[in-house]
Amino acid sequence: MLFGIVLVVFLVLQITPGDPARQIAGLRASEADLEEVRQELGLNDPVIAQYGRYVGNLLQGDLGYSYKSRKPVADIIGDRISVTVWLLTTGVLMTLLISVPLGVVAALRKDRVADHAIRGFGLLGLSMPAFWTGVILLLLVALPTGWFPAGGFGDTFGEKLRAIFLPALTLAIGSSPFIIRGLRAAMISVMESDYISTARSVGVAGGRLVRRFVLRNAAGPGVTLLAIEIGYLLFGAVVIETTFALPGVGQGLVIAAQGRDLPSVQGYTLLFALVVVAVYLLSDVVTAMLDPRVEIDT
């Protein structure tokens, strides 16, 4: 699968219009200068040879060098990744903090006012694009209160926490509805199962029933949904980091694409793909740990 991703990333950027040599040498560089750059980068080689070289370098952890800064792409990504990790971690935490209680309440109060209100909130969250939610939070929260910066990332832990709060909340508002709906449906299904009736008949009830029997058995689909959501969150980070001027990999991808820095674009794209694959793999493992009925084929 990873080789497939690498191949797609390589081919897509091969067919992207534009001459990388001109990008490096300058728009008004002479044909001789352009030719020199093409030779230096091996751009005159057959595509298959370029692909072989690209894969060979990748296997050695070499993502190439940025056309713009001449720095290793791995270093450029490394400089930005911590911001995105902050964003995703905080975003996932907020998603869980919002969605688990609301999902549980919606399931336990099925078809009552609370359930309808929570589903209505979910619909609202789903309807609002992240860039719009972000701007609204900036205009209605950050600017009037001054509690949060209007953009950028801080230096100290406290500054970082303040800077990441609204972007993470934006992510959470967009991703919580999926988890709420998934968790609600899974819990309702579990609550209607025979073993819950059995548990009730032997006197297990209330919070203990929910925690030990319902929630644990309903968590499997929730974890899978969360993994899917993390994939979306990663791509959402491109929008969120742009909206909040956060110097993470999402913003880096946008700037690299605008500057036609193809090696950097390749590096970022590959990173995104790898993270999604890794998260899905992790979700399978966690699901198996939560539910003994699930086995992982090896």
Binding site: G18, R22, P149, G152, T243, I255
Partner: protein
């Protein structure tokens, strides 16, 4: 804002070697064309000592190109380079004059073929080493080796000097040289990169400018702090300069409104009305929005078709659509720069009858079609191309619009691979020779029209005896542009910045570049 790409002059300069004769100092402002710079809400007069340090944050949408001076393609790069790697001279905010940089004075003797600079007392690099003639000579070698701007300094054949005196020996007089030396591409670097390798230097650049680099990355934040060895102990007036790239237009405005950023560089005219008018700094009219018509193939290889297009365009409709920061075009050369002169005849205005008559007499009688390419990321162009499409449909020219990603657009534009190309340009140095060279370097603004005539005109300009002679040549170029209609100016306008009203000392040249070290945070 549009990227201003490098100026290629090496061919011109090489051939200039054959030019000779008396010459004037091209830096003298005529006064005729200076219209001043509008500075709402700012005080261009710095009151040293009133500013009290602090952090100045400027936000731009363009990524920095890195520290290689020759690789500068974005205005954000020129802007940053000059803060750290200062040239011997600076351009004035009026777009016409040259002011002291590292050199406090200079004496240009075109007859003696020398320029003698006197450096500021105590001019030092940020590592503490004094600036010497050897550093200037070394920098000259680096400048000339660049694939983009290399050759701009070919007139200089030697650099000598002792102490604060730097003497440049010229092979021939050159009216354009002083303007080039005042632009950021002529930044002074320490000899042998201050003992570093080239790569090390460009990762940790050292200059004799007002700022030193504390942190930087391409596409990321740049933090500059004061150079403790700067020749002027008063400047810079801030303790820290932060330059951020923010790609989202709304976020840029929110940062400005929140006070977290004090300057938003190169506002799009389409969003400027959303700012408090008192915050919008309107540079003197300078940029030229134009279309290039490909003369190398039908239908625009026919002069009559080109003229028909020129008369079919509704300039007033474009003016109205672009808003208050744009106006009707006065010629093809960027105005409000030293030695600019208007055409001797009226510039194109809409005359549909004439357009129809011309087309009826042309090889495209009965109608034709053409492709117009534009940068999809440019809101201004996106607007203008639709007007042009509608205008040309009225005379039977079916225009198909191709919105291209910036890189693909530039590739096709520079390859002259489209029937019509829309673009916008301005200068980077204070002399009309700059736009002339730009037009030459772009194959007459992406039209493919022959540039031999322009080349000869440039040589004559560089060698002209008086400013009047130079302006006569400029008028000749403007007239030729009307006669041939290979490239048609459709509007001219101002570059814009959002500037916090408390700032002092903000003063931008017509092309939008300004100096950070003169800015104080004010009250």
């Amino acid at each position: 804002m549009r990227r201003r790409t490098g100026i290629i002059v090496f061919v011109l300069m090489a051939l200039l070697a054959g030019a000779c004769g008396d010459s004037t100092d091209g830096t003298e402002a005529t006064g005729d064309t200076a219209t001043g710079t509008t500075q709402p809400g700012t005080d261009a007069t710095v009151a040293p000592g009133d500013e009290g340090g602090g952090t100045l944050t400027a936000v731009r949408f363009e990524s920095f190109d890195g520290w290689v001076l020759d690789s500068a393609a974005a205005y954000s790069s020129y802007q940053t380079h000059q803060a750290v790697i200062e040239p011997l001279m600076r351009f004035g905010a009026d777009g016409q004059s040259i002011e002291p940089g590292l050199a406090e004075s200079w004496d240009y003797d075109p007859d003696g073929l020398t320029i003698t600079f006197t450096l500021h007392e105590g001019a030092r690099f940020s590592n503490g080493d004094p600036v010497t003639a050897e550093d200037v000579a070394f920098s000259l070698g680096i400048w000339n080796a660049g694939p983009n701007f290399g050759g701009s300094w070919d007139a200089i054949v030697g650099v000598t000097g002792e102490g604060r005196e730097i003497v440049m020996e010229l092979a021939y007089p050159d009216n354009t040289l002083m303007a080039v030396l005042a632009s950021s591409i002529s930044g002074i670097m320490p000899m042998d990169f201050g003992g570093m390798t080239e790569d090390e230097y460009y990762n940790n650049p050292i200059g004799a400018g007002a700022f030193v680099v504390d942190e930087w990355s391409i596409g990321g934040r740049i933090i500059l702090t004061p150079n403790e060895f700067y020749y002027d102990p008063e400047r810079p007036y801030v303790d820290e300069l932060i330059l951020d790239v923010v790609t989202d237009e709304t976020e840029r405005q929110i940062l400005f409104d929140s006070g977290e950023a004090q300057i938003i560089e190169y506002l799009s005219p389409t969003v400027a009305p959303q700012y408090d008018p008192a915050d919008v700094y309107v540079c003197t009219v300078h940029s030229v929005e134009h279309i290039g018509l490909n003369v190398l193939r039908p239908p625009f290889d026919d002069l009559l078709v080109r003229q028909a297009v020129a008369y079919a365009i509704d300039y007033e409709a474009i003016d109205a659509a672009l808003g208050e920061y744009f106006g009707l075009p006065s010629g093809i050369l960027s105005p409000n720069i030293l030695n600019w002169a208007p055409p001797s005849k009226p510039y194109f205005r809409r005359n549909l009858d004439m357009a129809n008559d011309l087309l009826a007499q042309s090889s495209a009688a009965g109608g034709t079609s053409a492709e117009l390419i534009y940068d999809a990321g440019n809101a201004l162009d996106t607007l203008v191309v639709q007007i042009i499409q509608a205008n040309l449909a009225e005379i039977g020219i079916d225009v198909s619009l191709s919105a291209l990603e910036t890189g693909a657009f530039l590739d096709r534009a520079f390859s002259i691979d489209a029937d019509m190309t829309i673009w916008n340009y301005g200068a980077i140095s204070p002399n009309i020779s700059d736009p002339m060279i730009w037009i030459y370097a772009t194959g007459w603004l992406f039209s493919g029209f022959e540039t031999d005539t322009l080349f000869d005109q440039f040589l004559a300009y560089a060698d002209a005896a008086t400013n009047e002679d130079m302006q006569a040549i400029v008028t000749e170029i403007q007239d030729g542009a009307i006669d041939e209609a290979a490239a048609i100016a459709v509007a001219e306008g101002s570059y814009l910045h959002a500037v916090n009203q408390n700032l002092t000392g903000f003063a931008s040249a017509p092309w939008g570049l300004y100096y950070y070290d003169t800015i104080g945070l004010g009250g």
